[in-house]
Chain length 475, copies 2
């Protein structure tokens, strides 16, 4: 047993420390293109343990990488230069539920769906609904300021974080924020930690605002022969003051992937929109009627809406299958996340979609585009043979072009997935003095740079994609 193993075992017990090779291998992956193994995995069960681990790591200058479910798409939870992975999944408690005060207090390791299952009988929920809702943890969502299909109406995680307990790099246990739905008592530090990707401290408890759960909804699927028309419809809906609970888009590549994988028989058009309204039944029906008029003005080949929950689920099944289906589209090619989370002002969606399609053609890549067009957030999956160096080079160039276009349209590198390691090389394209200030704050809070180093372009910046993808490529 190595010295650091013994020291960590004294804090959490030896069953919660592992340097087993097979186990370290599991922790060397997340949902990104990267792999990198930690030296040791530690599973704390409470804040005091986290504080002692961090204090030890700070003294020894060992990197600390907090990890929830490992669903991050950009390498957030990988120990890039070795060190300690802090598996937070044992801290998955709901310590307080106060729906009459509109908040809950939870451990960072609780799974999103588990929390909402507990809130459902009370008629409340935590609205941001990421694609990984059934596995991702609340701590991870706070770390990257995650959101999902409901952000257009309900906002992102940052809008729900009322308070945090955070262990700082020197082991100090910080309580920040409040148990009230608004607050004006000093710097809003809990909103600084939200989205800081584990680089400023380890989140050990989260006080979240909750919202009344809507009891009625209606969902429409709208198919267009022209992707630009679909994009224009999105801005038209909002200009007419309709605020759907969800407003999604899928392009032909995604539709084909889903049909191939699930045989859903979606119309293979240029673009499909999914529009959902929730709330009072009369309000939802009126909004859906108005939305139908606006959608039909752009000549869709299909508009079909339903308030039957089974039918709504069928409509959503196609959208939710995009991510897992993409890798099945083309034999020998794997779908990877490289520029998968751009966000632009809503009315610029048609321009960004057009640009992505032109760049894909130019670089000889297959790129599927989908996502939360209602808030301007587009996801893409790039498909290529990951064993070929040349394909990586083309993907890199495509990313530079896509991000350049996105930023020139007033957009941002990431809407909800964060920066992590994958997007670190592009940070300077978007952030000028802002990146310097991020680094100043990082230095002030974590002078030894032990908190999740290598991420967010705060220290070293990779010059290209550093990938170690080796897994077999099937069809």
């Amino acid at each position: 047993m190595r010295g650091y193993e013994r020291a960590l075992a004294r804090i959490v017990g030896k069953d919660n420390v592992s340097t087993d090779k097979a186990e370290l291998f599991c922790y060397s992956f997340d949902a990104s293109i990267h792999t990198s193994a930690p030296n040791v995995v530690v599973r704390p069960s409470n804040t005091k343990e986290v504080s002692e681990i961090v204090r030890y790591a700070n003294r020894k200058q060992i990197p600390i990488v907090p990890r929830g479910a490992g669903t991050a798409l950009c390498g957030h939870s990988l120990a890039w230069n070795g060190g300690i992975v802090l598996d937070m999944t044992r801290m998955n408690h709901i310590s307080e539920t106060h729906v009459e005060d509109l908040y809950v207090v939870v451990g960072p390791g609780i799974v999103y769906s588990t929390l909402n299952a507990a809130l459902k009988p009370l008629g409340f929920f935590f609205p941001p609904e990421p694609g990984s809702a059934d596995v991702c943890t609340i701590g991870g969502m706070v770390a990257v300021n995650a959101s999902g299909t409901k952000a257009i109406k309900y906002g992102a995680t940052r809008d729900y974080v009322l308070g945090l307990e955070v262990v700082l790099s020197n082991g100090t246990i910080l309580k920040t924020g409040s148990r009230t739905i608004k607050n004006s008592s000093g710097y809003q530090l809990c909103r600084l930690f939200t989205g800081s990707e584990g680089t400023l401290g380890v989140i050990t408890e989260v006080t979240l605002k909750v919202a009344p759960l809507p009891t009625y909804s209606s969902t429409a699927i709208v198919a267009y022969d022209d992707l630009q028309a679909a994009g224009r419809t999105v801005a038209d809906l909002i200009r007419c003051r309709l605020l759907p609970a969800a407003l999604e888009i899928m392009d032909r590549t995604c539709i084909q992937a889903v049909n191939k994988s699930l045989k859903l028989g979606l119309p293979e058009v240029e673009g499909i929109l999914i529009v959902e309204f929730d709330g009072h039944p009369d309000a939802v029906r009126d909004d859906m009627r108005k939305a139908e008029g606006i959608c039909r003005a752009e000549n869709p080949t299909l508009f079909s809406s339903s308030d039957d929950p089974a039918e709504e689920e069928r409509i959503w099944a196609g959208r939710k299958a995009v991510l897992p289906s993409m890798s099945r589209l083309k034999g020998g090619a794997v779908s990877v996340s490289v520029a998968e989370d751009m966000i632009v002002p809503i009315s610029n969606i048609p321009k960004l979609i057009g640009a992505i399609s032109r760049i894909a053609k130019k670089r000889g890549l297959v790129i599927g585009t989908y996502g939360h067009c209602g808030d301007g957030n587009l996801h893409t999956k790039v498909l290529f043979d990951v064993r070929k160096k040349d394909a990586w080079t083309r993907a890199w160039k495509a990313c530079l072009e896509i991000y350049g276009k996105c930023i020139s349209l007033g957009g941002s590198l990431a809407g909800e997935h964060g920066i992590g390691y994958t997007r670190a090389p592009f940070m300077r394209m978007e952030h000028k003095a802002e990146l310097d200030l991020m680094r100043t704050i990082k230095m002030a809070l974590d002078p030894n740079n032990i908190m999740n180093p290598g991420k967010l372009s705060l220290d070293s910046v990779p010059k290209t994609f550093v990938t170690r993808l080796r897994y077999p490529v099937g069809d």
Copy 2:
């Protein structure tokens, strides 16, 4: 002309620099108990000028105090140790309006109501509605994370700040955030600047999210003989998943003050609630029906609701008159803001109201309590003869007790007015490691401490109320 006057006049022109005694006197007040004059007032018209002024001030180590309309209740915009007051009201432009993208870009000096008047024809609005809506500036609202009657449903200013342009203490012009309604690209710095009360930089441009303006509302007035019953009703409404657009409370002292001042003939009961719903007419009517049932369970002496805008305005007139009416209640006494913005978890409202009433009696003070009980935010006005030293001592002791109770109930010093100078002595009661971290960040961003020094308990901390109130006390 002094050297600094000449230097500043070179930047903004001599018409926009003043050291005139009468003018400095005007800038020595805000809505707080304090007065303190700057050495010079400067009125910049653009970001470049602000940057040059700050660069000059940093070189000479002269304090810089940004000021909007001067409506702050805690001395935020007073130059506590002299220095430059930066009057931002010339920078009152709306530079971009993109309701189809759900955002506007404005100068910090624009008045809240002016912005909403411009948005109204488009069917949108910026929801937080402070009591000073007709005069306060957006820059000031961002600086203190202000809100108002609509926060329970619509959130506070922090939930609407998408992007900021800020001049840092060294003169750097920082662009932070985005033009998208969500964002996950690095530290959420615009949410750190929101609520930082001018201590980290000067806000020179604000990108704000806007929301569709509701077209229908209904408002109820509910009177209770028992203030605790009124308080319980608030938590009951929320537990039953009703989310009013506004949910306000006024106690007997406030009701009497308003009746004396405006002759509105409000029922002189222990507590009045005002409940407003907005949205789709059917949803509003259903919610109001449910709310009536919940309100009646606590035996009110009056429940009266209306969707006639004129009648709704009459109901609101009483509530809106509280602040200006209080000083007229008792001859020789002035109503002052000393502990006027406590916030607690919503269901603790009855306990806080009870405690404030006991403390008032014990300390021989008249304290009127009102505010946004729907989000747990209570305002108080303390009435006493401000020429008497003993009364100040009793007010100080009452504050210590009120804040102690508020914090023991899981609350916070300030819901929407900020800390400023008045509340600085109490910061340590609420914030432990958090205050140290605020100071670390302040030091990192403003090493010469030129940005609004003396506020937020970041440097010097007064030991008691420092007031220089000298104005005549009428009846």
